[in-house]
């Protein structure tokens, strides 16, 4: 396959993922609205928001780094997504999956936030650093159980290649990590709550406390970049979880179904709780989920989880 074909395929894949991610967030808004006792905005509202923000004139700008913040953020989302094979066995949706791509993906999950931190920091608004501090701290916190879970998976399948991890889970749901290594999945799913930043871990944007946090100064096209990334990044994370823990997908429909339900877990919890205080959130991840993560490694390594 020529590199150009691959690039073309990747472009299609990215577009599909972005559209899917945004639609998903539209559906989630609708669901939240029903919980609230409202009808809610139409499902395509996130697209309208992007168009709307993009068409706005730039009102506030704070220099080069500020410009680059959203770009880094989008790069993070793009990077995460581009190295994850989306649909097992599909050339179109295999992206740039390669040996050791899991490490790269883990890096990219972080990358966007770091880049954003640099950009938003230049905004000068005191809420930005507060939000960044909260975001990075929480990320460090949930990264612990998540990394432990990923390590457990890597040990289990003896591979750092997502494609091969997915391949190992083929042949019925009995082969999913969910059942072969449930502890790792629990740790990972809890950390996903933090990753998706739904309540009770919505401390980064926290409108009632530090209104919107890092992106507080972002406007117009900066905001539209962030919104685009939100769709793409959400899709990337969900696909990653699906691949690592839920047996991947062989068709687009399967992918959509699985990721939807994975996401619903966040939404299900998010609607029911208020927000943690930041320190409550950090402590939470470093306690039980981290412990479960460690347990999962012990289980896989010593208790014969790994075959």
């Amino acid at each position: 396959m020529s590199i150009w074909t691959k690039v073309l395929y990747a472009f299609v894949s990215v577009s599909v993922a972005t559209v899917y991610g945004l639609t998903l967030s539209g559906i989630v808004r609708k669901l939240y609205a029903r919980v609230h006792g409202r009808f809610g905005p139409p499902v395509w509202q996130p697209f309208l928001d992007i168009i709307q923000t993009y068409s706005r004139r730039v009102a506030v700008s704070h220099g080069n780094m500020f410009f680059l913040g959203p770009v880094f953020r989008l790069a993070g989302g793009l990077g995460t997504y581009l190295f994850i094979p989306v649909i097992f066995g599909s050339a179109l949706f295999s992206n740039f999956s390669m040996a050791g791509d899991l490490l790269l993906v883990m890096y990219f999950v972080f990358f966007g936030q770091l880049g954003m931190a640099l950009g938003a920091g230049q905004g000068g608004h005191p809420y930005s650093p507060l939000g960044i501090a909260r975001g990075l701290s929480q990320m460090s916190a949930f990264e612990v159980p998540f990394s432990l879970a990923v390590i457990a998976v890597a040990i289990q399948y003896n591979s750092l290649n997502i494609t091969s991890i997915v391949a190992a889970q083929q042949g019925g749901f009995m082969h999913w990590t969910l059942l072969t290594n449930p502890l790792a999945v629990i740790a990972a799913m809890i950390s996903m709550l933090g990753m998706n930043m739904h309540a009770p871990f919505s401390i980064v944007l926290a409108p009632q406390e530090i209104p919107i946090g890092p992106p507080v100064e972002m406007n117009s096209s900066f905001l539209s970049l962030l919104q685009t990334n939100r769709g793409l990044f959400a899709a990337a994370k969900l696909v990653l979880f699906m691949n690592l823990f839920f047996g991947g997908a062989t068709t687009l429909v399967e992918m959509i179904l699985k990721t939807f339900f994975i996401y619903m877990f966040s939404v299900f919890v998010g609607a029911a709780y208020p927000r943690f205080r930041p320190e409550q959130s950090f402590r939470f991840f470093l306690k039980w989920p981290a412990f479960i993560g460690v347990l999962s490694i012990i289980y896989i390594t010593y208790l014969g989880g790994a075959s």
Binding site: H36, G37, R38, A272
Partner: protein, 599 residues
């Protein structure tokens, strides 16, 4: 941390299955409540432009503006409220205060316009979608911002009053007057209707502030006979009072009386600043014929402008019809004297028992004075001219009233019928009732008139009071014949009157000859109108004067006749009532001043 507290919140999802609380299309699916305070409506057929809404608006959101098609007439300023929705707070006080109930609100609550100026509009004039909407906020009948109930006037009981000529109406005391004055809206609609254009809200406000001196000054600005007006004025002002649309009009007449009753006669010149008039006397002389309201009013204003004035009066006392036409129980003579004595104190000289035309001619007056004002009034009676009306026991009301005032004995019969339904008819009916009571100890007087009960020209309270005094009022009959037996009056035959005026509003009574009635009487009094006596005008003058087709002397705006030196006013020009006479006298005085300054 209890497990229940962790799991129980997940029940939020129960609500997701329920029907949402919100409304998808609120503007169409949810109209405002029936009495919602939405956008304003104004019913122009009721609005009188009194400005109460502007007055009460605490946000200054309302302006009164002229509106095309709304004429300024008596009782309607022709102005209409324009509301600035940039300021309006929709408290609806303007709706609650509106004395006519014209201003209301619809339950409409959305209005989108591109131009901000659109939100400043005249409800009722500018086309709005909600102008005819039935729903919306209106004043509840159970509440009132304004006070629609008049303070009751204390009067003598009928049993007491029909035996004497003591004044019936007792007048307000201070507390009552303050309370009544408090009801005033200060819209000022009454001023235009008052023939003398008195500043009514001004003196009422002065009563509220308990500043009687200032109130008196305001009265004397255009009316030098407030004691008289305060009692017997026809109070046209009260008919246009804004409060009248929804309740009792303000008792403007009684309040005026209250003011003057408070001030003793000897304080007048000090309060009114007329104690040094003699310093400014001009060397100009004006003669005035008739010491009635018109003549004295002219004399008063001429006097304070510095003219030397002399009044020629045929009768032995001043006042004209006010004294000789109005019975004492309505207007005591000492109150007439109070007003007139003050006018006389300013140097106005009155020569009594001098009839112009016989004792002195008009030409003589013209010769010795710079100008002449004639306010000779309507002293002649008018006859029905039915058969038998020429009997000596058939009288004119004016003549009888004059005789009573002069103190002459009247041969009161046991049974009397009065023909006429105006205030004069009521006056003579009630006067005769008193005389009968004094003479026979009982009342047997009956008044009948063409007009049916509801369109009787007399004031309602006059009719009510006459009945309280045991007089019979039987309206709606046209006199047919006065039956004479043996040269004496036997009674009055009447037929039913169906209508008095034709379609064009002209006097043309229609009768039903089949419905007849007979009133037994020994004496009949006709009170169907008065006529003027212009016999003092010599033929030469008469030929120089211009007359209107209806026989009145033609005058211009300042009551100047076609003979430049002769000014004419009062009942013979306008009226008949006292306030027109006063107003005429006032304007004529100004006119004479202008005329003499030009000369």
């Amino acid at each position: 941390m209890k497990l229940k507290d962790v799991l129980s919140p997940l029940r939020v999802w129960e609500r997701a299955a329920k029907k949402p609380m919100t409304i998808k299309d609120p503007i169409n699916d949810r109209p405002g409540a029936v009495n919602y305070r939405g956008f304003h409506k104004n019913d122009f057929s009721k609005c009188i432009g009194c400005g109460s809404c502007e007055e009460i608006c605490q946000n200054d959101a309302i302006d009164l503006v002229p509106v095309e098609g709304q004429e300024t007439v008596e009782g309607d300023s022709g102005l209409r409220p324009m509301i600035d929705y940039g300021r309006c707070c929709w408290c609806a006080l303007c709706v609650d205060v509106c004395p006519t109930g014209a201003l209301t609100m619809s339950n409409e609550y959305t209005w989108i316009a591109d131009n901000p100026e659109d939100y400043r509009f005249v409800p009722g004039a500018d086309k709005t979608a909600w102008q005819d909407s039935e729903k919306g906020y209106t004043r509840s009948p159970d509440i009132q911002i304004l006070d629609y109930e008049r303070v009751d006037m204390q009067e003598l009981e009928p049993e007491e009053r029909d035996k004497s000529f003591i004044e019936i109406v007792k007048g307000y005391n201070k507390e009552q007057a303050m309370k009544e004055a408090e009801r005033c809206l200060e819209c000022g609609l009454c001023i235009a209707t008052c023939p003398a254009h008195m500043d009514i809200p001004g003196y009422i406000a002065a009563i509220r502030d308990d500043d009687i001196d200032n109130a008196l000054r305001i009265l004397y600005e255009t009316n030098p006979m407030p004691e008289i007006c305060g009692r017997i004025c026809t109070h046209k002002c009260e008919t246009v009072c804004a409060l009248h649309n929804n309740g009792d009009p303000l008792a403007i007449r009684w309040l005026k009386r209250y003011i003057v009753d408070q001030v003793p006669a000897d304080k007048y010149s000090e309060i009114l600043g007329t104690d040094h008039l003699e310093d400014e006397v001009l060397n100009r002389k004006v003669a005035i014929i008739g010491a009635g309201p018109a003549g004295l009013s002219a004399a008063y204003y001429l006097a304070i402008m510095g003219y030397k004035t002399k009044v020629y009066e045929a009768l032995p006392d001043p006042g004209g019809m006010v004294r000789y036409g109005i019975p004492e129980y309505r207007l005591p003579y000492d109150q007439i004297d109070k007003d007139i004595d003050y006018i006389r104190s300013l140097g106005v000289e009155i020569q009594f028992n001098t009839r112009v035309g016989t004792d002195i001619t008009l030409e003589e007056l013209h010769g010795s004075y710079d100008a002449v004002f004639a306010g000779t009034g309507l002293h002649l009676g008018r006859s029905t001219r039915v058969p038998g009306a020429d009997n000596k026991r058939v009288y004119f009301a004016t003549d009888l009233l004059r005789e009573v005032t002069l103190g002459n004995e009247i041969d009161v019969a046991e049974n009397i019928v009065v023909i006429g339904g105006g205030n004069v008819a009521m006056d003579i009916t009630r006067t005769l009732a008193r005389l009968q009571n004094l003479k026979y100890g009982k009342v047997q007087v009956l008044a009948t008139c063409l007009e049916a009960e509801d369109i009787m020209p007399a004031d309602v309270e006059e009719v009510v009071e006459a009945r309280e005094e045991n007089a019979v009022i039987d309206p709606g009959w046209g006199p047919k014949e006065i039956e004479i037996r043996d040269g004496k009056v036997y009674g009055l035959h009447v037929v039913k009157c169906l209508s008095v005026f034709d379609e064009n509003g002209r006097f043309s009574p229609k009768f039903d000859e089949d419905q007849k009635k007979f009133f037994k009487a020994d004496m009949v009094v006709e009170s169907i109108g008065q006529g003027m006596d212009l016999s003092y005008l010599s033929e030469g003058i008469k030929s120089d004067l211009k007359f209107s087709p209806r026989g009145r002397i033609e005058v211009d705006d300042s009551f100047q006749s076609s003979l430049q030196w002769l000014f004419v006013g009062g009942d013979i020009i306008q009226g008949p009532d006292v306030i027109h006479g006063i107003a005429n006298g006032y304007i004529a005085a100004k006119g004479i001043d202008t005329y003499l300054n030009k000369k």
